[in-house]
């Protein structure tokens, strides 16, 4: 394994359907070299198999989903908005709402396993400043899902020219 192999692996992991010709240009080697290296990486089991990344929710199946309720101390002038903005940045958080009642914020979190979700709550959410209490509810069956993202940020516009 050398640096060239690593580059190939990263490129294949990103898109295993990238043509050999393009891999050769990107990784600065000949096409034959690319083929030889891939054959070697396959035969030694470094490349286990080629697969697609599937959005199973879109396909009709689901991941493990849970609803997490948070008690939050609001900030002067900003209320819950800024802490909500921070939480919303985590890709695991599918939706985020401010709610009435005992708790303040409600998150919908998805993960590949119970363990992953538990770790996310324990390591990322619970220790944040201003979070006073958390309550995690594992989804047993999903009846309706609102798949749209709420906190879509506007793309930052770059100048067409700069030096």
């Amino acid at each position: 394994m050398d640096e060239k192999d690593r580059i190939l692996l990263h490129l294949l992991e990103e898109n295993c359907r990238t043509p050999i010709t393009e891999l050769a240009v990107l990784a600065e080697m000949s096409e034959q070299d690319v083929k030889d290296r891939i054959t070697w990486l396959e035969s030694t089991g470094v490349i286990r198999h080629y697969g697609a990344v599937i959005d199973w929710e879109r396909a009709g199946d689901g991941n493990v989903t849970s609803v997490i309720d948070l008690k939050v101390s609001p900030e002067r002038d900003f209320g819950y908005d800024r802490i909500a903005e921070r939480i919303a940045r985590f890709p695991q958080v599918r939706s985020l709402r401010l709610i009435t009642g005992v708790y303040d914020l409600q998150l919908l979190v998805t993960g590949s396993s119970m363990h992953e979700i538990a770790r996310f709550v324990a390591e990322e959410i619970a220790p944040m400043d201003r979070i006073r209490e958390t309550a995690t509810h594992i989804t047993m069956k999903t009846y309706k899902e609102n798949g749209t993202t709420f906190a879509e940020r506007e793309e930052v516009e770059r100048l067409p020219y700069s030096f």
């Binding site: 580059i7 990107l26 990784a27 600065e28 940045r89 067409p160 020219y161 700069s162 030096f163």
Partner: protein, 394 residues
């Protein structure tokens, strides 16, 4: 009423791409290879630290030369990364981007009548800064056949008894050219023999793809006649934070600091906090960005050469600088027609110095998908022009 604009300000020519800006404004689907900044957003760990510091109330002026933490971190970084040692107390000033660093460096050392050699093609600010300081800029060409390195004979040719300073920027914007140790040693001899000062803008130092960046201040004979400029914009995708720095021997640093304290007072504190964090924990994300630029470079330069726009493989920065001479168009005509017809924005090389004529600057700081789309549009552009040329010849 008389005209209140100073002669010095009037003497600065208007931007060479104003017209292109206006055209681009009217088009929706421009793929811009005209930007001199990373397309990445500043790594979140850096942003988060700056946000936290603001929340903690860190909003006041800092020491003129920058926070002691940041200067200490810069000193350590330069030593560990490039082998150049600067005292954080006496030899480093944190500035509002490298733009300010270049300005105060030039003003600290240029007297009216001094001749200042400027290796070109180059970033657009050096020459106006020299002019504003009352100096006389003298362009020194870097040639395509030398892979746009700076050649000692080209410099020697321009040296007169009034020559005082050489300004160079490697890895280079716009050519992607780099200077290795042996290249710099040849220049170092010239600097010593003619008692010249070097201003070395190394803002693209981290974006070096073959071998390591060589910082000329590493050569002991010229260490004390070198002002090193660097910053966070390119390496850490932090253009909007405006944090750069100037490193020089104590005497020059003290002079530059006097100017800095009156024009800027200090660099923005939140930017300084972010920059400190970049040096502390931003390395991994920086390396990932550099790896991606290298892939993009390979993809794009290969594509240009296949289209017949001959382009040397740039060893640094994130610019490809192909020749457009094969099209029969000037660089300005090419850039304007490409923008109007295929909606791809590039910068004509002549805007960046006389030696840039016949080339265009293409920043590959855009996604690989956009680069592929840009290449296919450029292919269509070349095809339509070659065809129309053949028709007109018949």
């Amino acid at each position: 009423m008389r005209c209140f604009v100073s002669e010095r300000a009037s003497a600065i020519p208007p931007s060479g791409i104003r017209k292109f800006f206006d055209i681009a404004q009217t088009i929706d689907d421009v793929i811009s290879l005209g930007v001199g900044e990373p397309d990445f957003v500043t790594p979140w760990c850096i942003c988060e630290a700056a946000i936290y510091s603001i929340e903690q109330g860190s909003t006041a002026y800092t020491s003129n030369k920058g926070t002691p933490q940041l200067r200490g971190a810069i000193s350590h970084y330069l030593d560990a990364r490039f082998g150049t040692a600067y005292d954080p107390e006496e030899e480093i000033i944190v500035t509002c981007g490298v733009s300010e660093a270049a300005d105060i460096a030039i003003r600290a050392v240029v007297d009216p009548g001094d001749e200042v050699l400027v290796a070109e093609p180059c970033y657009v600010s050096y020459i106006p800064c020299v002019t504003l300081a009352g100096g006389t800029p003298v362009p020194v060409p870097c040639r395509a056949e030398d892979e746009f390195r700076m050649a000692a004979d080209a410099i020697a040719e321009k040296i007169t008894p009034r020559t005082k300073i050489l300004i160079a920027n490697f890895p280079n914007n716009p050519t992607g050219g780099v200077m290795g140790e042996s290249d710099w040693r040849a220049i170092a001899d010239l600097l010593v023999d003619n008692d010249l000062l070097l201003i070395s803008d190394e803002v693209y130092a981290e974006l070096t793809y073959e071998g390591d960046h060589f910082s000329p201040a590493r050569i002991p004979e010229i260490r004390d006649r070198t002002i090193t400029l660097n910053g966070f914009s390119k390496a850490f995708a932090m253009t909007g934070w405006r944090i750069g720095y100037l490193c020089a021997p104590q005497e020059i640093t003290a002079a530059a600091l006097k100017i800095h304290q009156y024009v800027a007072l200090c660099a923005p504190v939140m930017g300084q906090v972010a920059a400190y964090e970049a040096l502390r924990i931003g390395n991994e994300e920086k390396d990932a960005m550099v790896r991606e630029y290298r892939l993009r470079r390979n993809l794009f330069v290969d594509g240009l050469n296949k289209l017949g726009l001959s382009c040397h493989l740039p060893k640094g920065a994130f610019y490809a600088f192909p020749s457009v001479e094969s099209t029969g168009m000037s660089d300005t005509e090419f850039a304007e027609a490409l923008l109007r017809e295929q909606h791809v924005a590039v910068v004509p090389g002549s805007v960046l110095g006389p030696s840039g004529a016949g080339h265009v600057r293409c920043a590959y700081a855009v996604s690989r998908d956009d680069l592929k789309e840009a290449l296919s549009r450029m292919g269509a552009f070349l095809e339509s022009h070659i065809l129309s040329e053949q028709v007109s010849q018949n």
